[in-house]
């Protein structure tokens, strides 16, 4: 069971252009599908609403963490905060990081979402997996089952 999601995409546009698409709140909203209230500011909450038809009632809430010019943009959010009636502020958030890198073709973007291991007791489960052969085998079975039966 992985505690993170990692993605890599090569974009035929300059690092500056990708940086703008990520950090300008209007541009971010365009491709992400969210109408944000205002600009991203490190340390501050970013709010808005999903723009996809049928999901406009869903609020977007994230806390901007770091904005290192044309290098790194990160925020934390609650990966399962989808019920408008529930307060998720007490739950551990995950960290979403975008790292930009110049390449001859344009820009390489690395995305990482981490912190899924903060789900209660997951660490202990992980530690346990290391120690117990039988459990490791079961986890592999689970993984292959899930992959083969999407």
């Amino acid at each position: 069971m992985s505690d993170r999601i990692e993605k890599r995409v090569e974009i035929k546009a300059s690092v500056s252009r990708v940086w703008r698409a990520l950090t300008d709140y209007r541009e971010f909203g365009e491709w992400f599908g969210v109408k944000l209230e205002g600009p991203f500011v490190p340390g501050q909450v970013s709010r808005g609403f999903i723009t996809h038809p049928g999901y406009e009632h869903l609020e977007w809430v994230a806390v901007v963490q770091r904005m290192e010019f044309e290098q790194l943009f990160s925020f934390t959010w609650h990966p399962y905060a989808v019920d408008p009636k529930t307060d998720y502020t007490g739950e551990p958030p995950t960290l979403v990081e975008f790292v930009l890198e110049a390449i001859p073709e344009g820009c390489r973007l690395l995305l990482t979402e981490s912190g899924f291991d903060k789900i209660p007791a997951h660490r202990r489960l992980e530690a346990f997996r290391m120690n117990e052969g039988g459990w490791t085998v079961q986890m592999k079975n689970i993984e292959s089952h899930a992959t083969q039966n999407p």
Binding site: M1, S2, I5, K7, V9, I11, K12, A13, R17, V18, A21, L22, E27, E30, W31, F32, G33, V34, I50, T51, H52, Y55, L58, P79, Y80, V82, D83, T86, E91, L109, L111, E113, F116, I119, P120, A121, H122, R124, L125, F128, E132, G134, W135, Q138, M139, N141, I142, E143, H145, A146, T147, P150
Partner: protein
């Protein structure tokens, strides 16, 4: 589609919290590890070799049953307990779903930026 909004199972990781909470106990982890080997066991078999009483083991088994990690089945006069990987499977599926949604979001970003460059 926007991230995290199009699948009815998107709230399921939240519902997985009790699963992990149930596993957050040494005794229960040992019980799960034993049953995860695939052979259903009776309460007596599970109590054997443990310093805990039958009642204590039964109580831990009930916690695991409540979140669906184990199920009991009747075999003659006694109940056997067997492991069910599904609750843990769902956590893995959830991560894969979110992984796919990031793929979609990043391809929208790519299209958004690259299309504009060409215009």
């Amino acid at each position: 589609m926007p991230l995290r909004t199009h699948n009815p199972t998107h709230a399921s990781l939240q519902t997985q919290a009790p699963v992990f909470a149930a596993l957050g106990d040494e005794t229960r982890l040992v019980l799960v590890a034993r049953l995860a080997q695939g052979i259903p066991c009776s309460l007596s078999q599970l109590t054997e070799g443990s310093h805990l009483t039958r009642q204590a083991i039964a109580k831990h088994l009930r916690v695991l049953q409540k979140v669906g990690i184990i199920h009991s089945l009747r075999s003659g006069r006694e109940s056997l307990f067997r492991f069910d990987p599904k609750p843990l499977e769902r956590v893995t599926e959830q991560l894969e779903l979110w992984s796919d949604q990031w793929d979609q979001a990043l391809s929208r970003l790519k299209a958004f930026v690259e299309t504009e460059v060409r215009e």
